[in-house]
Symmetry: C2
DNA sequence: CTCAAAAAATGAACGCGTTCAATATTTTTT
DNA sequence: AAAAAATATTGAACGCGTTCATTTTTTGAG
């Protein structure tokens, strides 16, 4: 008979999460006040804090969902064959960028990144950083796969180049979310240009 | 006789700035309350806001000083001759990193970066971004200089590779300031490893 | 020197995220 | 079913950055 409590708990959790995401979408993260979220969910402010450690933690659920999905899509891309390095990179990176605004707005990304830098010791930041590392590793994996298939020259340090490329991808994404004018296509074009020389130089034989 | 007002103004400006940097160093940025800064400077809270737009703006003076100095040092490095690409990059990047904690603590850097991402439309963020771009351009300039001297292979897109390398430098610096354990030497070693393959591939002839 | 206008200083008040002691509800024990 | 223990809810209060109406100081004209 302890069902009642668990039932109510799950229900409130869902209602709060729903209210928060709705409000974040409608008025943006900063303007969505805890008081408003609590009211929309039909609970008090105090109760909100029983369910979530703080406002920022509400973002992590969303960020996490976003990145998990893109990681899965990335694995599928790595499994396929690729003509050349530049194309393979564009495909993987393009998937990252295309997917990025599915659940999160630029403002929400900015908030998440900002929090993760400002308070590195928090669980929020640590989870965010872990997701970043998995993405970085995925780029390394792609390059290693290309090397095994002879698309990338032997002797090239896959992890070193993978990290280099991913850090550029990530930094450019920061520029992207900082600039409301910039669109995904412009972002992809810039990164492709930045990758081009390295992609060419690390290609096996040809060129 | 309007000297008195200007005199007092300059004096207060200096006193507030001094108090702020002293407190930032002593207790950290977050724990340094405006009230404390004002009190230490011998003015009221309201007066603080007459002299500085907000707390974050106090950081920009420091960040700016930091980056201006490192840019000047960077120009001197570019002017010199270099054996090979990897060494030249290590020297410039090493200078960036070595200098980075002269005026700012890791916590202050985190705050500055965090602010610049969270509120891109503010003057603070825009000034920060402009400094970043000048650093990026300097790395491009180094590579172009190396190309003109025959150290870098002809045909390599200097701006593309420069941006790629700088964005990695910058992203790794974020990792560095997020991790209180990490030291400058470890940071330099990681970046050198990440740069190595590209540096080798873009080298003229030899290898 | 006087006084009105301009400039600067002030601190109480506000907004919002977060905390916590008091209260209410559910579960367990008897 | 009543009492005790465990758990959850609540909203007033707090901290701190920021604002703004009011007061004080400085200035230059008469």
């Amino acid at each position: 008979m302890s069902g009642l409590r668990a039932q109510k708990k799950a229900d409130k959790n869902r209602r709060i999460l729903e209210a928060a995401t709705t409000l974040f979408r409608k008025v943006g993260y900063d303007s969505a006040r805890i008081e408003d979220i609590a009211e929309m969910a039909g609970v008090s402010v105090g109760t909100f804090y029983n369910y979530f450690k703080n406002k920022g933690d509400m973002l992590m659920a969303t960020v996490s969902m976003e990145v998990e999905e893109v990681l899965a899509a990335g694995d599928a891309i790595i499994a396929r064959e690729h003509e050349d390095v530049a194309t393979a990179l564009s495909e993987l990176i393009g998937k990252y960028y295309d997917h990025s605004l599915t659940y999160l707005s630029k403002e929400m990304w900015r908030t998440a990144m900002s929090l993760s830098i400002a308070q590195p010791e928090t669980p929020f930041s640590q989870r965010y950083t872990a997701l970043d590392h998995r993405l970085s590793k995925q780029v390394c994996d792609l390059i290693r796969a290309l090397q095994n298939r002879g698309v990338v020259r032997k002797g090239v340090d896959c992890d070193a180049t993978g990290e280099l490329i991913f850090n550029n991808v990530n930094m450019m994404f920061i520029e992207f979310v900082k600039d409301e004018e910039m669109d995904v296509d412009g972002l992809k074009a810039s990164v492709a240009r930045q990758n081009a020389p390295l992609a060419l130089l690390m290609s096996g034989d040809a060129a």
